[in-house]
Amino acid sequence: MSDDNDDTAQVLKLDLPVAPTVLIVDDDELVLAKLEEIVASAGYSVRTAHGGADAMRFLEDGSASVVVTDLKMPGMDGLELCRLIRGREWPGYIYIVLLTVQDEEEDILAGFEAGADDYVSKRTSKAQLMARLRTAKRILSLEHCLKIALENKRQLAMTDPLTGVFNRRYLVRHLGRELNRSQRFGGDVSLMMLDVDHFKRINDTFGHLVGDSALKQLTAKIAECLRRATDWCARIGGDEFVVVLEGANVEEARRCAEKVRQTVSGMSIDTPRGPVNITISIGISGLERFADKQSVTVQSLLDQADTSLYASKICGRNRVTLSDSNTPSSAREPADRRPTHASFVPVSSIR
């Protein structure tokens, strides 16, 4: 809990990477020039617009995050501009300062009602205007910090902390999305499930630190073999991983799996007793292997891959196995009820 608080405090200390760009809106050319001079001399990037419509074009281009606008202007006035800005969605918050000579109570209230964050009289001092812009910067910095914190939390929620690959939650959510897309629009999706052969021995013999190190090195090797942006890996258990190959058929998945298997079988991990070689077993499943593609679920794909993985294990490990067509979802059944290796197509081994 205190770590979380420390993280939040650190994030809230972050400042905007660059000073916000200020868009000054006024129909008076001389006022625009004067304000541009004042604001730019304080270190802000400045854009100017002669009216509301002009200002909206700048904002649509993402050119500014602070708007300092006059109230009374021909065409679209400051209030309408505020309402238009607030009525739309933007990539980031737009801080609005109404800068006007109309400073009656009812004008001020109308300004805030329309969505302004601040209301400043044109009779105010230069120093006060600068102070108001610093407040705008502070609010935008806060928003920036919160976005970073949110992104960090989002990353943590979908990442395996040990290896840095995705976690099971991400796998279920994104594989489901990819599966739906393939079912609706056609196309393939294949996956490989893999685990380390005799991983328990590594842990029991050398301790969990070595085991953890082995898993980190393994995921690095897997990452080396995945070349497409649409290929990704998730850790779903102790030493169990799933690699999803979006848009790939099982033959492509097999080639990729074979590459991973060979790469890993050539690696060794450091232990207190010297380098130790590890191997992995892989099971492959794919949408194309199902007769009724519309009824396929994430679970049925995972079950099929798990059954193939099991076949790799009973056929001697360190190999890749493709599921046969319409493989039943029986991988987690008792061993004596699991399908025999005759149901599978072992495609590789070290022997």
Binding site: V31, K34, E37, I38, T124, L129
Partner: protein
Amino acid sequence: MRASVHAREIPQRIKAREESLAKSFIQRARNDVNRFREMLERARQGDLTPLSEIERLAHTIHGAGAIFGYPAISASGRAIERLAAQLVAGRDPPGEHMVIGQLAEITEQLALEVEMACGIPPDAGPTLQPRIG
């Protein structure tokens, strides 16, 4: 050495630019006063169509006078803006001539203030507190 020269040049450049803008404002206000006189003359003769333009120009003087640090000019602009708006809204048709007379008086007051402001830097102008500029 180079940095210190550069550091001196920036405030000088800003100051020169601000003085130039203030001069442009005063020159424009002079022109606006002349336009007010012409338009009010037409109004006296029964042509009230220029009143919207008077209101618009006066609003500009009201805002820009405040921004450039000339509160008296800004206040006169405000007074003209309000009276012109009253006539445009047609709130008091029998009192139109009286209001036009008031507008002429304030215009001459504005003319005086603009002439007084000539040569007076805005920061040294008759402001109660440091203004923008």
